[in-house]
């Protein structure tokens, strides 16, 4: 994985020292809150409902055991013993004291981590497929490119004060697990007819109050042009993006208002001019970065594992776990394991310090020391021998982390909502917890099959509700929480914004409503092989609307 060089290390330490000084001056009253707020935000410190919140970047969702252990130590020493993994492959601590932040940043720097650019109108943490470097369907590992983008965008003087925040996601597989079409720039690795590597480039996706699916503006961008082309996109945006209205300032609005063709033309013109500025990505530099992401020393193993097959036959719990939480790996004899952070009745995405340590130990022992954070708020062990899957399952179970529900109805994405977030209009975590309790029965979950429920506590859509197969948006009316349901959204390569089915539901009725939607699907699907999204796309919203509102009419 990527290691800081001298420059990175010196820089991060300087930033910690600088922020320590700024915090000191704030606490002594030398700086006013107005002066200090932008400084703390630049270092990932927000003020939430109950305390300060620290958002830590996990670049392209890749962590080592050492880093995860350090996060656990911080959770224990400075928070309430847990942390929240977010849809942007960040970790948020909810109970941080401002006076502790410099020490925390110091501890992060010691394991080559920081919280820079996790807030503000800059290029945020670059996200990537959480199966990167492991997925069986992968064309190439997206992380070297994510790292190149991270280095290029870190403190880029020209792009530090954009009209609004800017999010980039990269995937190396045709099946999009990184939701690239909901990002300001989405990049998909591909090969042209000659076999050369490059990117399909999407621009202008986003969620929030104006959800939009990104437009494809390039079918093939040679990899060496990556930085020049991204620079061109950002220049056009920086110059032409709206700064008069915060709600119209994202690049999606610019793409929408200027039209896809005109926008593409502007980018291509800028790109043509830039190409001569030696902004290309030299192959040696690309190769140097790629060496950090060289595959671990995989053993030559047979495709089939006898140990694994015996365990499947002997232990139905393990069989169930393997059927959902183990995924095909590109190397024979290996598998990818999803570590579910979605226990029944628990807050999605939270992990305690002890759980983080358990995962770190398991990764060190069985998975080449690597952990990934998925945008679906789970952890991933990317490289596990199939022979070791039973042992990994047992170890995860010990830590309360073997919930066999990856991709099922209880694998819910939820933002913090009104239990933590200062911007929320309603709670989201309790709704997620109640839904997972309602569907706790594993036989029923497995019978329902693939489905993605995503919940946000306000229209900012941090919980991706617009692209949930079932999306739930928490709102407020006359002091009461209520919940709007959208159906048919999807964040993968068939990216779609969900449709609002009708009036919202009270907090008391929302779980019943979700159950009604799912029962309707079960009654109408052609077979268990037709998953919820496929059935919805075939049927449209009418039968679901009818089932939800017939009783009321």
């Amino acid at each position: 994985m990527y290691r800081y060089d001298e420059f990175d290390r010196a820089f991060v330490h300087e930033r910690v020292a600088e922020f320590r000084d700024q915090v000191g001056r704030r606490l002594s009253g030398e700086l006013t809150e107005d002066q200090f707020k932008p400084l703390r935000l630049m270092n990932g410190v927000y003020l939430q409902l109950h305390a300060y919140m620290l958002r830590i970047a996990i670049p392209y969702g890749t962590l080592s055991s050492r880093q995860l252990r350090q996060l656990a130590a911080i959770a224990r020493d400075h928070d309430r013993g847990y942390g929240h993994f977010t849809t942007r492959q960040n970790l948020q601590f909810n109970w941080i004291a401002l006076k502790d932040v410099p020490d925390i940043l110091e501890k992060l720097a010691a394991v080559e981590m920081h919280a820079i650019q996790t807030s503000g109108n800059c290029i945020r943490n670059v996200t990537a497929d959480h199966f990167a470097g492991a997925a069986a369907d992968e064309i190439a590992d997206p992380r070297p490119y994510a790292e190149i983008l991270r280095q290029w965008s870190s403190l880029h003087p020209e792009f530090t004060f954009l009209p609004r925040k800017f999010k980039i996601a990269v995937t190396g597989s045709p099946h999009d697990r990184a939701a690239i079409q909901t990002h300001d720039i989405g990049l998909q690795l591909t090969r042209d007819a000659t076999g050369a590597l490059g990117f399909v480039v999407y621009v202008g996706g986003g969620q929030g109050r104006t959800p939009m699916v990104a437009r494809k503006i390039r079918d093939f961008l040679p990899e060496r042009d990556l930085l020049a082309y991204c620079t061109a996109i950002l220049r056009v945006y920086n110059l032409e993006g709206r700064r008069d209205n915060k709600y119209k300032a994202r690049i999606k609005i610019l793409v929408h208002e200027s039209g896809e063709a005109a926008f593409r033309e502007a980018v291509e013109a800028e790109f043509a001019a830039l190409r001569d500025e030696a902004l290309d990505l030299p192959t040696p530099e690309r190769d140097r970065i790629a060496t950090y992401f060289a595959p671990p020393p995989f053993a030559a193993l047979p495709e089939r594992s006898v140990v694994f097959e015996r365990a499947i036959a002997a232990d139905p719990d393990f069989a169930r776990f393997a059927s959902r939480n183990a995924h095909p790996h590109k190397v024979p004899g290996y598998a990818i394991v999803t570590v579910s952070l979605k226990p029944v009745g628990g807050p999605p995405g939270d992990a305690t310090a002890t759980q983080m340590e358990a995962v770190a130990d398991i990764a060190a022992h069985y998975a080449f020391d690597e952990i990934r954070v998925s945008h679906e708020q789970n952890l991933v062990l990317p490289h596990v021998r199939r022979d070791d899957l039973p042992a990994v399952f047992a170890a995860l179970r010990q830590a309360g982390l073997a919930t066999p529900n990856a991709g099922l109805v209880t694998d819910i994405i939820s933002c913090p909502g009104l239990d933590y977030c200062a911007l929320a209009t309603a709670r989201s975590i309790p709704v997620a917890e109640r839904i997972s309790e309602r569907f706790a029965d594993l036989d029923r979950q497995h019978e329902i099959g693939d489905i993605k429920i995503k919940i946000s506590g306000c229209i900012n859509a941090c919980g991706h509700h617009h692209v949930g197969h079932i999306g739930i948006l928490g709102l407020e009316r006359k002091g009461e929480e209520f919940y709007q349901i959208t159906l048919g959204g999807s964040g993968d390569e068939t990216c779609t914004i969900g449709e609002i089915v009708g009036p919202g539901f009270s907090s008391r009725r929302i779980v019943d409503a979700v159950e009604t939607v799912i029962d309707t699907y079960l009654a109408l699907r052609t077979s268990p092989r037709e998953n919820f999204l496929a059935a919805y796309r075939r049927l449209g919203e009418a039968p679901f609307r009818e089932a939800l509102y017939a009783a009321a009419e």
């Binding site: 606490l27 305390a51 309430r80 847990y82 006076k99 933590y420 975590i429 309790p430």
Partner: protein, 112 residues
């Protein structure tokens, strides 16, 4: 918030402690306490204005940040904020917080 109308609702001053971020309420003797039960309650618009002035001074003195006057209602022997958001600020998340050890402190309170 403390809009002038015939139906003036009693308010308390709430903010976050500058150094720790803890949710705090202004007490009659000028302290900022994490316990809503000790808060000064302004029951008239004039009292609310006076409370606001004193609280503003504490903001200016860098003791607290993010000041607001929030309506409260009496609920038997207790006082609680009218709005759900403020109720959650005052009493903590309404969910069981994940934890390894036995639960302690605010998080252990029953959900409202």
């Amino acid at each position: 918030m403390s809009k002038r109308s015939k139906t003036f609702a009693p308010v308390v001053a709430t903010a976050n402690d500058l150094a720790t971020g803890t949710v705090v309420f202004r007490t009659p003797d000028g302290r900022w306490s994490a316990d809503l039960a000790t808060a000064e309650i302004a029951t008239t618009p004039a009292e609310a204005d006076a409370l606001r002035l004193r609280a503003d001074a504490d903001v200016a003195a860098d003791r607290v940040v993010d000041l607001a006057l929030v309506p409260v209602v009496r609920d038997g022997a207790f006082v609680r904020p009218t709005a759900l958001r403020e109720l959650i600020r005052a009493s903590g998340p309404t969910i069981t917080l994940p934890t390894d050890a036995p639960r302690i402190g605010r998080a252990a309170r029953p959900t409202p």
